[in-house]
Symmetry: C2
Subunit: 129 residues, 2 copies
Amino acid sequence: MENLERHLNEAFAALADPTRRAIVTRLSRGDATVGELAEPFAIGLPTMLKHIRVLERGGLVSSAKAGRVRTCTLNPGALGAADAWLRRHIATWEARLDRLEAHVEARMVQAETGKAAKAQPRNDGRHDD
Amino acid sequence: MENLERHLNEAFAALADPTRRAIVTRLSRGDATVGELAEPFAIGLPTMLKHIRVLERGGLVSSAKAGRVRTCTLNPGALGAADAWLRRHIATWEARLDRLEAHVEARMVQAETGKAAKAQPRNDGRHDD
DNA sequence: CCAAAACTTCACCGAACGGCAAACTGATCT
DNA sequence: AGATCAGTTTGCCGTTCGGTGAAGTTTTGG
Protein backbone atom coordinates (compact mmCIF):
# COMPACT_ATOMS: atom_id res chain seq x y z
CA MET A 1 0.00 0.00 0.00
CA GLU A 2 2.77 2.47 -0.84
CA ASN A 3 0.05 3.82 -3.04
CA LEU A 4 -1.60 5.35 -0.01
CA GLU A 5 1.58 7.24 0.79
CA ARG A 6 1.74 8.65 -2.70
CA HIS A 7 -1.92 9.47 -2.68
CA LEU A 8 -1.53 11.39 0.56
CA ASN A 9 1.35 13.11 -1.14
CA GLU A 10 -0.77 14.35 -3.99
CA ALA A 11 -3.55 15.33 -1.61
CA PHE A 12 -1.26 17.62 0.37
CA ALA A 13 0.24 18.99 -2.83
CA ALA A 14 -3.26 19.75 -4.05
CA LEU A 15 -4.08 21.60 -0.83
CA ALA A 16 -0.90 23.64 -1.08
CA ASP A 17 -2.36 26.11 -3.55
CA PRO A 18 -4.70 28.76 -2.08
CA THR A 19 -6.93 28.74 -5.16
CA ARG A 20 -7.40 25.01 -4.85
CA ARG A 21 -8.21 25.28 -1.16
CA ALA A 22 -10.81 27.89 -2.07
CA ILE A 23 -12.24 25.42 -4.58
CA VAL A 24 -12.47 22.84 -1.83
CA THR A 25 -14.21 25.40 0.38
CA ARG A 26 -16.66 26.18 -2.38
CA LEU A 27 -17.35 22.50 -3.08
CA SER A 28 -17.85 21.70 0.58
CA ARG A 29 -20.91 23.91 0.31
CA GLY A 30 -22.22 22.10 -2.75
CA ASP A 31 -21.38 20.75 -6.20
CA ALA A 32 -20.45 23.15 -8.97
CA THR A 33 -19.59 23.24 -12.66
CA VAL A 34 -16.23 24.26 -14.06
CA GLY A 35 -17.59 27.65 -15.08
CA GLU A 36 -19.22 28.28 -11.73
CA LEU A 37 -15.94 27.49 -10.03
CA ALA A 38 -13.89 29.71 -12.31
CA GLU A 39 -16.08 32.78 -12.09
CA PRO A 40 -15.35 33.95 -8.49
CA PHE A 41 -11.61 33.77 -9.01
CA ALA A 42 -10.29 35.81 -11.87
CA ILE A 43 -8.94 32.84 -13.79
CA GLY A 44 -9.79 31.31 -17.13
CA LEU A 45 -11.45 27.98 -17.76
CA PRO A 46 -8.26 26.17 -18.84
CA THR A 47 -6.57 27.11 -15.61
CA MET A 48 -9.55 26.01 -13.56
CA LEU A 49 -9.62 22.72 -15.41
CA LYS A 50 -5.98 22.16 -14.51
CA HIS A 51 -6.73 22.79 -10.85
CA ILE A 52 -9.58 20.32 -10.99
CA ARG A 53 -7.30 17.71 -12.51
CA VAL A 54 -4.82 18.22 -9.68
CA LEU A 55 -7.57 17.89 -7.09
CA GLU A 56 -8.78 14.72 -8.80
CA ARG A 57 -5.30 13.20 -8.81
CA GLY A 58 -5.17 13.92 -5.10
CA GLY A 59 -8.47 12.13 -4.69
CA LEU A 60 -10.07 15.22 -3.18
CA VAL A 61 -12.59 15.83 -5.93
CA SER A 62 -14.37 13.85 -8.57
CA SER A 63 -16.17 15.18 -11.58
CA ALA A 64 -18.46 13.88 -14.30
CA LYS A 65 -19.68 15.35 -17.53
CA ALA A 66 -23.36 15.55 -18.41
CA GLY A 67 -23.98 17.00 -21.83
CA ARG A 68 -21.56 19.85 -22.24
CA VAL A 69 -21.33 20.59 -18.54
CA ARG A 70 -18.87 19.06 -16.08
CA THR A 71 -19.99 18.96 -12.48
CA CYS A 72 -17.46 18.65 -9.66
CA THR A 73 -18.09 17.18 -6.25
CA LEU A 74 -16.01 16.98 -3.11
CA ASN A 75 -14.63 13.65 -2.02
CA PRO A 76 -14.38 13.89 1.74
CA GLY A 77 -12.45 10.65 2.17
CA ALA A 78 -9.16 12.18 1.06
CA LEU A 79 -9.64 15.16 3.36
CA GLY A 80 -10.05 12.61 6.13
CA ALA A 81 -6.78 10.94 5.17
CA ALA A 82 -4.86 14.20 5.38
CA ASP A 83 -6.62 14.96 8.64
CA ALA A 84 -5.60 11.56 10.01
CA TRP A 85 -1.96 12.21 9.11
CA LEU A 86 -1.96 15.52 10.93
CA ARG A 87 -3.68 14.15 14.00
CA ARG A 88 -1.29 11.24 14.20
CA HIS A 89 1.67 13.62 14.32
CA ILE A 90 0.06 15.94 16.83
CA ALA A 91 -0.61 12.90 19.01
CA THR A 92 2.97 11.68 18.72
CA TRP A 93 4.23 15.11 19.70
CA GLU A 94 1.93 15.31 22.68
CA ALA A 95 2.96 11.87 23.84
CA ARG A 96 6.56 13.03 23.73
CA LEU A 97 5.70 16.11 25.74
CA ASP A 98 3.97 13.96 28.32
CA ARG A 99 7.01 11.72 28.71
CA LEU A 100 9.19 14.79 29.11
CA GLU A 101 6.87 16.26 31.69
CA ALA A 102 6.80 13.05 33.66
CA HIS A 103 10.57 13.01 33.59
CA VAL A 104 10.84 16.55 34.91
CA GLU A 105 8.25 15.87 37.56
CA ALA A 106 10.17 12.81 38.73
CA ARG A 107 13.22 15.01 39.11
CA MET A 108 11.34 17.54 41.17
CA VAL A 109 10.04 14.85 43.48
CA GLN A 110 13.58 13.57 43.88
CA ALA A 111 14.80 17.06 44.67
CA GLU A 112 12.10 17.55 47.27
CA THR A 113 12.83 14.24 48.95
CA GLY A 114 16.47 15.20 48.94
CA LYS A 115 17.39 11.54 48.48
CA ALA A 116 20.08 10.22 46.15
CA ALA A 117 20.80 12.93 43.59
CA LYS A 118 21.13 10.40 40.74
CA ALA A 119 18.90 12.27 38.37
CA GLN A 120 19.78 9.87 35.51
CA PRO A 121 19.53 12.27 32.61
CA ARG A 122 19.98 9.67 29.90
CA ASN A 123 17.83 12.00 27.89
CA ASP A 124 20.42 14.60 26.95
CA GLY A 125 19.50 14.98 23.38
CA ARG A 126 18.65 11.61 21.95
CA HIS A 127 16.02 9.21 23.02
CA ASP A 128 14.17 7.80 20.11
CA ASP A 129 11.67 5.04 20.50
CA MET B 1 -6.74 38.49 10.69
CA GLU B 2 -5.99 37.85 7.03
CA ASN B 3 -2.56 37.09 8.35
CA LEU B 4 -3.86 33.80 9.68
CA GLU B 5 -5.06 32.90 6.22
CA ARG B 6 -1.62 33.50 4.77
CA HIS B 7 0.04 31.60 7.54
CA LEU B 8 -2.22 28.62 6.92
CA ASN B 9 -1.27 29.01 3.31
CA GLU B 10 2.42 28.64 3.99
CA ALA B 11 1.77 25.78 6.37
CA PHE B 12 -0.01 23.76 3.70
CA ALA B 13 2.64 24.68 1.16
CA ALA B 14 5.28 23.42 3.59
CA LEU B 15 3.45 20.13 4.03
CA ALA B 16 3.16 19.68 0.27
CA ASP B 17 6.69 18.31 -0.08
CA PRO B 18 7.20 14.66 0.99
CA THR B 19 10.69 15.37 2.31
CA ARG B 20 9.34 18.11 4.53
CA ARG B 21 6.55 15.88 5.80
CA ALA B 22 9.20 13.30 6.65
CA ILE B 23 11.06 16.00 8.56
CA VAL B 24 7.90 16.72 10.51
CA THR B 25 7.53 13.01 11.23
CA ARG B 26 11.09 12.86 12.46
CA LEU B 27 10.68 15.95 14.63
CA SER B 28 7.44 14.72 16.12
CA ARG B 29 9.59 12.03 17.69
CA GLY B 30 12.11 14.48 19.07
CA ASP B 31 14.30 17.49 18.32
CA ALA B 32 17.14 17.17 15.84
CA THR B 33 20.04 19.13 14.37
CA VAL B 34 20.32 20.08 10.71
CA GLY B 35 22.88 17.35 10.10
CA GLU B 36 20.82 14.71 11.83
CA LEU B 37 17.85 15.66 9.71
CA ALA B 38 19.80 15.63 6.46
CA GLU B 39 21.49 12.28 6.96
CA PRO B 40 18.51 9.86 6.45
CA PHE B 41 17.51 11.54 3.20
CA ALA B 42 20.17 11.68 0.54
CA ILE B 43 20.30 15.46 0.40
CA GLY B 44 22.97 18.00 1.22
CA LEU B 45 22.97 20.44 4.10
CA PRO B 46 22.08 23.49 2.00
CA THR B 47 18.98 21.76 0.76
CA MET B 48 17.97 20.70 4.24
CA LEU B 49 18.46 24.22 5.48
CA LYS B 50 16.14 25.48 2.79
CA HIS B 51 13.49 22.98 3.83
CA ILE B 52 13.83 24.10 7.42
CA ARG B 53 13.37 27.71 6.39
CA VAL B 54 10.17 26.79 4.55
CA LEU B 55 8.88 24.90 7.58
CA GLU B 56 9.72 27.89 9.76
CA ARG B 57 7.88 30.31 7.49
CA GLY B 58 4.89 28.01 7.75
CA GLY B 59 5.19 28.16 11.53
CA LEU B 60 5.54 24.38 11.74
CA VAL B 61 9.07 24.32 13.09
CA SER B 62 11.33 26.59 15.04
CA SER B 63 15.07 26.33 15.38
CA ALA B 64 17.81 27.90 17.43
CA LYS B 65 21.54 27.83 17.19
CA ALA B 66 23.74 26.83 20.08
CA GLY B 67 27.40 27.06 19.28
CA ARG B 68 27.89 25.74 15.76
CA VAL B 69 24.83 23.48 15.93
CA ARG B 70 21.27 24.39 15.01
CA THR B 71 18.57 22.39 16.74
CA CYS B 72 15.08 22.15 15.25
CA THR B 73 11.88 21.54 17.14
CA LEU B 74 8.32 20.92 16.05
CA ASN B 75 5.72 23.61 16.64
CA PRO B 76 2.47 21.69 17.06
CA GLY B 77 0.23 24.77 16.97
CA ALA B 78 0.49 25.15 13.21
CA LEU B 79 -0.28 21.47 12.66
CA GLY B 80 -3.38 22.10 14.73
CA ALA B 81 -4.37 25.03 12.54
CA ALA B 82 -4.14 22.95 9.37
CA ASP B 83 -6.02 20.18 11.13
CA ALA B 84 -8.76 22.63 12.12
CA TRP B 85 -9.12 23.79 8.54
CA LEU B 86 -9.56 20.25 7.29
CA ARG B 87 -12.04 19.33 9.99
CA ARG B 88 -14.11 22.42 9.36
CA HIS B 89 -14.50 21.46 5.72
CA ILE B 90 -15.27 17.85 6.46
CA ALA B 91 -17.94 19.04 8.88
CA THR B 92 -19.44 21.42 6.33
CA TRP B 93 -19.60 18.62 3.81
CA GLU B 94 -21.26 16.28 6.23
CA ALA B 95 -23.81 18.88 7.20
CA ARG B 96 -24.63 19.24 3.53
CA LEU B 97 -25.03 15.50 3.16
CA ASP B 98 -27.38 15.45 6.13
CA ARG B 99 -29.54 18.15 4.62
CA LEU B 100 -29.66 16.25 1.35
CA GLU B 101 -30.61 13.06 3.10
CA ALA B 102 -33.37 14.77 5.02
CA HIS B 103 -34.64 16.20 1.77
CA VAL B 104 -34.71 12.81 0.05
CA GLU B 105 -36.38 11.22 3.04
CA ALA B 106 -39.09 13.87 3.09
CA ARG B 107 -39.77 13.12 -0.55
CA MET B 108 -39.98 9.40 0.10
CA VAL B 109 -42.53 10.00 2.82
CA GLN B 110 -44.50 12.01 0.30
CA ALA B 111 -44.33 9.14 -2.19
CA GLU B 112 -45.46 6.59 0.37
CA THR B 113 -48.40 8.66 1.47
CA GLY B 114 -49.47 8.56 -2.16
CA LYS B 115 -49.89 12.31 -2.19
CA ALA B 116 -48.58 14.31 -5.09
CA ALA B 117 -47.04 11.56 -7.25
CA LYS B 118 -44.04 13.66 -8.19
CA ALA B 119 -41.59 11.08 -6.90
CA GLN B 120 -38.81 12.70 -9.01
CA PRO B 121 -35.81 10.53 -8.12
CA ARG B 122 -33.25 13.27 -8.66
CA ASN B 123 -31.01 10.86 -6.97
CA ASP B 124 -30.28 8.73 -10.05
CA GLY B 125 -27.33 6.85 -8.83
CA ARG B 126 -25.60 8.99 -6.28
CA HIS B 127 -25.78 8.97 -2.54
CA ASP B 128 -23.31 6.32 -1.45
CA ASP B 129 -22.53 6.07 2.20
C1' DC C 1 47.48 28.55 16.52
C1' DC C 2 45.61 25.25 13.30
C1' DA C 3 42.38 21.99 11.56
C1' DA C 4 38.11 19.84 11.47
C1' DA C 5 33.06 20.19 12.24
C1' DA C 6 28.64 22.24 11.36
C1' DC C 7 26.32 25.12 9.32
C1' DT C 8 25.41 29.20 5.96
C1' DT C 9 25.48 31.91 1.80
C1' DC C 10 25.86 32.18 -3.14
C1' DA C 11 25.29 31.27 -7.87
C1' DC C 12 23.39 28.30 -10.81
C1' DC C 13 20.50 24.39 -13.11
C1' DG C 14 16.52 21.78 -14.81
C1' DA C 15 11.80 20.61 -13.79
C1' DA C 16 7.34 21.78 -12.33
C1' DC C 17 3.80 25.30 -11.61
C1' DG C 18 0.18 28.72 -12.46
C1' DG C 19 -1.33 31.47 -15.82
C1' DC C 20 -2.79 32.82 -20.59
C1' DA C 21 -4.56 33.05 -25.65
C1' DA C 22 -6.02 30.54 -29.51
C1' DA C 23 -7.81 26.84 -31.79
C1' DC C 24 -10.86 22.70 -31.42
C1' DT C 25 -14.87 19.57 -29.86
C1' DG C 26 -19.43 18.57 -28.66
C1' DA C 27 -23.92 19.87 -26.86
C1' DT C 28 -27.87 23.10 -27.03
C1' DC C 29 -30.60 26.90 -28.71
C1' DT C 30 -33.05 29.67 -32.56
C1' DA D 1 -28.45 24.70 -40.53
C1' DG D 2 -26.04 28.27 -38.04
C1' DA D 3 -24.93 30.40 -33.87
C1' DT D 4 -23.74 29.82 -29.24
C1' DC D 5 -22.31 27.82 -25.08
C1' DA D 6 -19.19 24.96 -21.98
C1' DG D 7 -15.40 22.57 -21.95
C1' DT D 8 -11.00 20.86 -23.69
C1' DT D 9 -6.45 20.67 -25.90
C1' DT D 10 -2.30 22.84 -27.23
C1' DG D 11 1.54 25.70 -26.98
C1' DC D 12 3.75 29.19 -24.75
C1' DC D 13 5.64 32.37 -20.84
C1' DG D 14 7.63 33.88 -16.50
C1' DT D 15 8.22 32.25 -11.71
C1' DT D 16 9.04 29.21 -8.14
C1' DC D 17 10.99 24.87 -6.42
C1' DG D 18 14.15 21.32 -5.08
C1' DG D 19 18.63 20.35 -5.59
C1' DT D 20 23.72 21.00 -6.34
C1' DG D 21 28.83 22.50 -5.73
C1' DA D 22 31.95 25.92 -4.17
C1' DA D 23 33.23 29.24 -1.02
C1' DG D 24 32.52 31.49 3.30
C1' DT D 25 31.69 31.72 8.76
C1' DT D 26 31.75 30.43 13.44
C1' DT D 27 32.77 27.00 17.06
C1' DT D 28 35.30 23.45 18.96
C1' DG D 29 39.12 20.02 19.74
C1' DG D 30 44.19 19.22 19.75
